[in-house]
Symmetry: C3
Subunit: 364 residues, 3 copies
């Protein structure tokens, strides 16, 4: 009798749970007090110093026979002023309201792996950017995966209109492939460059105990809708990274190479990025982390430019979901480079910038 009662209660509960379980509402609200010291100083409140603020809706349905359907809708938000963050790449228009520009996918998974369609982070980006100890947010974020912010070359971290295949896990190996339709209608119908805006990429990863390795390969054909005009360019990039967890600390490193070839003249803009990072637990709830990045920019017809970025961070986890954190970053440019921690503040002596932020991150 005991059993049956518990079972009944469980059924009732799971009945309730099932009705709810088709959607999980999740998100992050992360806000930091920030200060930037450059040619001038700036202070204010920023969104996303530890994790990007967001709101999302996701769910998984068990179809039986090992098959599952899933969906994921995720919108960026600016937690300091309540705006949405709907623009993320050159191909998407921006607004101050909510849109699922971080991710909008529907997928089917099974023994064969997973097939997904829609907009999301690319496999090439995911394969190696995961080694950034600052998680690609805040002043400590590595700019290796965004070509050091070089104009026109900014890598497409997220791509719309993609069909994605994710392989099953083969003894720690995984291969993920993206194909993004080049939906530029003018280019397609004019038959002049059917590949305009087309994206192709792959991420290969190996994860086994303390060791993690990743390789990212990608090619983007840029068409008329990039704003570059007649002189469009194709971007080829590859990245390699890895980390090893020694227990007392985790070491990580990555390298990324990106080339943008212009359609007229064939000139190339090249960027290389080097990253090393370390993170270590401090007590039961703390984590300290540090990183060094070097950016080398070689734009067509210009001298080679360099910049070095250092970052130091501390995160105190009050729970799995809530943390307070502090980040300090410093960047130094050479040979005329103009890579900034905050694009709103000019470099000191045309070279340097310091930035600090202290914030709260709450995930739900």
């Amino acid at each position: 009798m005991k059993k049956s009662l518990i079972a009944l209660a469980a059924v009732a509960v799971s009945g309730a749970a099932f009705a709810q379980s088709s959607v999980t509402v999740f998100g992050v609200v992360d806000t930091a007090v920030s200060y930037v010291n450059g040619q001038d100083n700036w202070s204010g409140l920023n969104s996303g110093g530890n994790q990007t603020s967001r709101l999302g809706f996701r769910g998984v349905e068990d179809l039986g026979g090992g098959l599952k359907a899933n969906f994921w809708l995720e919108a960026g938000i600016l937690a300091d002023n309540g705006s949405g963050k709907s623009g993320y790449s050159a191909n998407e228009t921006s607004s101050d309201a909510l849109a699922f520009k971080r991710r909008a996918t529907v997928g089917l998974s099974g023994n064969f792996g997973e097939v997904r369609m829609g907009r999301e982070l690319t496999a090439a980006y995911n394969a190696t950017s995961r080694y950034d100890v600052f998680g690609q947010v805040g002043y400590g974020a590595s700019k290796v995966w965004t070509d050091a912010g070089v104009n026109g070359d900014s890598t497409t971290q997220r791509v719309s209109n993609m069909v994605t295949y994710l392989s099953p896990d083969f003894s720690g190996f995984r291969a993920n492939v993206n194909y993004g339709f080049g939906e530029d209608k003018d280019a397609q119908t004019a038959k002049s460059s059917n590949s305009a805006s087309r994206y192709m990429g792959a991420g290969l990863t190996y994860d086994n105990g303390p060791l993690s390795l990743g390789l990212g390969l990608e090619r983007r054909n840029d068409g008329a809708n990039t704003g570059v005009g007649a002189n469009a360019f194709d971007v080829n990039a590859w990245s390699l990274g890895g980390s090893y967890n020694f227990g007392v600390a985790k070491l990580a490193a990555a390298y990324r190479n990106s080339e943008a070839k212009y359609s007229i003249g064939g000139d190339k803009d090249k960027t290389k990025g080097y990253y090393v990072g370390v993170s270590a637990p401090v007590g039961a709830a703390g984590e300290v982390k540090a990183s060094y990045n070097r950016y080398e920019i070689n734009e067509a017809g210009a001298a080679k430019q360099k910049a070095d970025q250092f970052a130091l961070g501390y995160v105190h986890n009050m729970s799995k979901r809530t943390a307070v954190y502090g980040t300090y970053a410093y960047i130094k440019n050479k040979d005329g480079a103009n890579v900034r921690l905050s694009s709103d503040v000019a470099l000191k002596d045309g070279e340097k910038q310091h930035a600090v932020q202290v914030g709260i991150r709450h995930a739900f």
Copy 2:
């Protein structure tokens, strides 16, 4: 004791359920790989081949005595790129972000029927568009309810600022009535045409076992905010439809007549639409469907134009919520008509267009 324990558990559960039950988060993510063959070819990812992608929030509160309050907020989304789909009619501005442009209503229901206020699909549209076996989405969607896309005459499927009355069920009969305030302030305050943008419509339906019938009647007074300028027009439309479920297959048919009368000169743009459709179960999980549409367009001062649209579809239901589907559609224009399956691709030989899409639809 058994009983009381179960009761206690049930109370606890319903307590939890109640706390949640005031809001249901629901939606659809539907994405398809699409190909259009016309004067040129186009391929890409589309949102909503089987059901329009959306995210919504709705709830019902029992007020006692048979009275219930309800609300419904529903936003369209473009699941291929994550954008919102906030613009649906000529009177609403568009953006790429989330807005409850599919439906935003609050209502009270009881023995008397239901009174609702806000924005939603009109009763006239609902009464007969429900016979479209392609559910008014994707390349197979009938254009009977959108005046074959004729410029300026596009019917208002959704109307804002409406007060709606929905009757109870009388032996299968239902009558729903909409009144949409013409909120054009310039027109109202100038007293010149207080009815500008006003919408009036009704839907009468009869549903009894295998038989379903519907009649839609509507009138829209267009004012200054339609972009038509000084020469505004009033649209009168009516539609009649029905279906019969023979078990092995369900047959459906509909006819719609729309006239737009210009305020200056009194000329009329007329469109007629004929629709027949059939759907049939295939095995336990499949459904095949086909439709034929004829559009006749008679614009003021122009020769009568015609177009024929054929569509064939298959839906494989993996569960109640998830399906994979494929749709093929073909359109042929005559006498200078320019009705397209995809507005982005020109007609082949000025006449024809083929389109195919294969996708996944997941509802939550």
Copy 3:
């Protein structure tokens, strides 16, 4: 055994509840049929006659040791047409889509009180605007807290980029303080007026049984991004209010004084607002309320202007969440004032306006 079974059921339930409880989805859908009589007449559907229509996501996490983390994301909506309501102040851009412009905060609370960061209503506004029996929405809303709508002086009810401290309750006393970063980058980096757009304010409240008192103090430094141009101004305002609940009725009163000083010339725009209100229960479910407001406007270089606003309302609560309501308001201007109930309709004889609305409010 009884106990353990109940406990098990309870655990199972709270397990389910916990999984859900990190986010509460909440909101209001409030729509009213409205009529305005002025120089001309206007009728239509309005959103928010009793409570502002909204959709929000909020949650609280218990961190142990009396410490709690919380977040709150709240977006305004226009329930009559489904649009979002993303613009609320001069510093925020508007759009017709969803954005968390009503509130976007993350906070930590404990014995020390609470620290919050982000965008929300200011403490100064909250301290006294709460005495408005019409809750600052609909035609009955007092304009005391918006400087009677005087151009350029519109008070900032909500401010972005704020750090807020809320004290614990000391025998009914509470002190809340806001500091809003003036993030105007041009002003900051030019070092000319680092305080541009900076906001500072405080709200002091005392609540003890039937008695409630509030004091609001605020100062806003307006910079280049207010659209006022070179001649910026600083706004200083203070308000005092209180209410006493006699049981048969609750009496409330408030006074607000606002001065905007121009940076060039030093001229001042001044507004004073007087408010008295009363609300009384009628039967088990009803509430009748009435208010009188006087606005005195003294713009630099212009004669003193005055306006009197009367409002009468009835709310019938069908449940805690759902109500039907009716509001009547009347405004009379003197000495050239142009304060309106509806900005879309001109004043009758340049002086008067009547407005009525009847609606449904449903909270979830």
